[in-house]
């Protein structure tokens, strides 16, 4: 009876590589071919470096005021010029990377945790629970996201952390719906039926079988959402509903400097460029991840 398996042995090449590594290698092969994705990853990596080593990179502190050098144009001393308080814009942008990346990253993590939780419950248990949660998502999505963020911040009070919380709440349905539809698909797979047939409980099925198979689209959507979270945080900062001066948040910097745009356009130009660049980075990376991880999601 066991003579058969020996004759069906697998090719040697497959045999030697551990499966996890081989999956990673496959992913890398697909990702590497995508030039825009690589550019995006490099940009993101660059900003992460800025954020982590801000203390070393920035030539000055974020709040070194000097009235004598107000609104100076870019020079060898101040690469991106100075603002209305004579602060070095380059240094402030470097430190601002910390704030923006933090908001983008943690807001998305928050949305993913709560969205996944609700999405799994809705998709797995269905019926009334699904209807209630799905309607809740519909209602949240009925508000333009920045408006709902503003409303939430007006309850919590304007600050960067409250803007983070607001953005996280607003994006919960994005992940909730994604995970729900993923769960509905995976739930119909025969290996879920198999898992139930061996007597497995719901919790274990969800954590060991459904979630791992829903992971790729969450990662892709998460990366793209960091981009919008950073944009929204900057928008809130610009409206005075996010980071408060003198915090070097890019949106707040824009709002501080807008009245000087005629005399010192660099005070407005560079914080905006920083936002664009980091958002482009995450967008490119997200598109690349989508193509590499989940070709079906490709538009």
């Amino acid at each position: 009876m066991s003579q058969t398996a020996q004759s069906q042995n697998l090719p040697a090449a497959v045999k030697e590589r551990s499966p996890f590594i081989s999956a990673l290698v496959d992913f890398w092969k697909a990702f590497r071919k995508n030039k825009p994705a690589i550019i995006g990853a490099v940009i993101v990596f660059f900003f992460i470096l800025l954020a982590v080593f801000a203390n070393i990179i920035a030539p000055q502190g974020i709040n070194n005021q000097n009235i004598n050098i107000r609104l100076e144009p870019p020079s060898a001393q101040h690469w991106l010029g100075t603002d209305s308080f004579g602060r070095d814009i380059f240094s402030r942008i470097v430190f601002g990377a910390r704030l923006s990346l933090r908001v983008g990253f943690f807001a998305v993590i928050g949305s993913i945790i709560f969205g996944t939780f609700l999405g799994v419950i809705a998709g797995y248990f269905g019926k009334v629970i699904d209807t209630v949660i799905s309607r809740f998502f519909d209602i949240l999505l009925a508000f333009p996201s920045i408006l709902l963020s503003i409303a939430i911040v007006s309850i919590l009070g304007p600050s960067l952390n409250n803007a983070l919380v607001a953005i996280a709440i607003v994006n919960i349905p994005v992940f909730g719906r994604l995970v729900r539809s993923r769960v509905l698909t995976v739930k119909e797979e025969e290996y879920i039926m198999a898992a139930r047939s061996i007597g497995m409980g719901n919790t274990r099925i969800i954590f060991n079988h459904i979630l791992p198979n829903s992971f790729a689209p969450i990662i892709v959507q998460g990366t793209l959402n960091i981009a919008t979270a950073i944009l929204d945080a900057a928008g809130l900062g610009f409206l005075g509903m996010g980071a408060q001066p003198p915090q070097p948040e890019w949106g707040t910097m824009l709002s501080d400097s807008r009245q000087y745009i005629t005399d010192a356009p660099w005070t407005v130009l560079f914080p905006g460029l920083a936002i664009i660049l980091v958002v482009i980075g995450f967008n490119l990376m997200g598109d690349g991840l989508r193509d590499a991880l989940d070709p079906r999601m490709k538009n």
Partner: protein, 322 residues
């Protein structure tokens, strides 16, 4: 004869079809419509029928993977349908299932070792080391090798994957295995290997099988008894020797005539059934088979036949044998 291991009585599954704005039930699909049979310890019961006849649904209802609309399923004297969730999980340890599609029934993101180990974790069997040991034993048992445990399902052929599915089913030392078309997705050459494996394992561990298949030839040499289903109903059930040699129900005869016979001298007439299987939402009145039956009588269109026991011990549901 002692009490059977599994007894299924009048099992039904109806699916309502809702329509319109208010969700009125406009019609009902009778996927399984009053099926009864029993399985004795150590034997193999084959259940045969065309696709859509409700045989897989029946198999799944026994484990309550699909909740039955009505009926009774007794396993070792306990009614499975009235068990609490935790009791049900305990019973699922004794009843395991092998699925038709070895590509779909294994989680692509788990290693083979993990797949086979998981039932043991769920039922709290052994510690990590013991379980690992057992995974290796099981792999050898089903004709694979211990080192296969570290691989993922996609690295195996269809036949090998079905062996993995069998190892997973065996992991918790079940008494009854429901095999839902375990070989129909496989190449013919691999089919007999898997069938032989199942028979060897049955002898070794004194297993009881319910073997679901869509054609009679596959079931023939593995089953002690065979039941034939048509449109959610059991039409004939008997010892396989008797059934294969002298089929009584016209539908069984038709199915059997479609099985190729390796003897060129035997010239049995092939019975071609006219028409398609009717929709289970609109089963014909009377005997559900009457509109395709070559020997239908007036009575058949009017009255539903009931199961009758013939002298040779077989049960058949047909007006011919009233």
């Amino acid at each position: 004869m002692s009490e059977p291991l599994l007894k299924v009585e009048n099992l039904k599954k109806y699916y309502p079809i809702k329509n319109g704005v208010l969700g009125r039930v406009s019609e009902t699909v009778r996927a399984v419509d009053g099926v009864s049979f029993s399985v004795n310890e150590g034997e193999t019961l084959g259940i045969v029928g065309e696709s859509g006849c409700g045989k897989s649904t029946t198999g799944r209802m026994i484990m309550r993977l699909i909740e039955p609309t009505e009926g009774k399923v007794s396993f070792e004297g306990k009614n499975i349908l009235s068990l609490s969730k935790s009791d049900l999980r305990r019973v699922r340890k004794d009843i395991q299932m092998i699925f038709q599609d070895p590509f779909a029934s294994l989680n692509p993101r788990q290693t083979v070792g993990k797949i086979i180990e998981e039932p043991m974790i769920v039922h709290g069997m052994g510690n990590h080391k013991e379980r690992k040991q057992r995974v290796e034993e099981l792999l050898e048992l089903v004709g694979l090798s211990a080192y296969h445990a570290k691989r993922y399902p996609h690295q195996f052929s269809g036949g090998q994957r079905q062996r993995i599915g069998i190892a997973r089913a065996l992991a918790v030392r079940p008494k009854l295995i429901i095999a839902d078309e375990p070989v129909s997705a496989l190449d013919v050459s691999v089919q007999s290997q898997v069938l032989n494996l199942l028979q060897d394992l049955q002898k070794k561990f004194h297993l009881t099988y319910i073997f679901i298949a869509h054609d009679l030839s596959v079931v023939r040499h593995i089953s002690n008894r065979v039941g034939v289903m048509y449109l959610g109903k059991m039409v004939e059930i008997s010892d396989s020797e008797i059934l294969y040699d002298h089929p009584k129900h016209p539908y069984t005869k038709a199915l059997l005539s479609a099985v190729p016979i390796p003897d060129p001298n035997s010239r049995s007439e092939r019975i071609i059934l006219s028409g398609d299987v009717p929709s289970p939402a609109h089963p014909p009145a009377g005997c559900t088979f009457h509109d395709r039956c070559p020997v239908a009588m007036d009575l058949c269109a009017r009255e539903k036949p009931v199961m009758k026991k013939l002298e040779d011990g077989r049960l058949v549901s047909c007006h011919l044998y009233d």
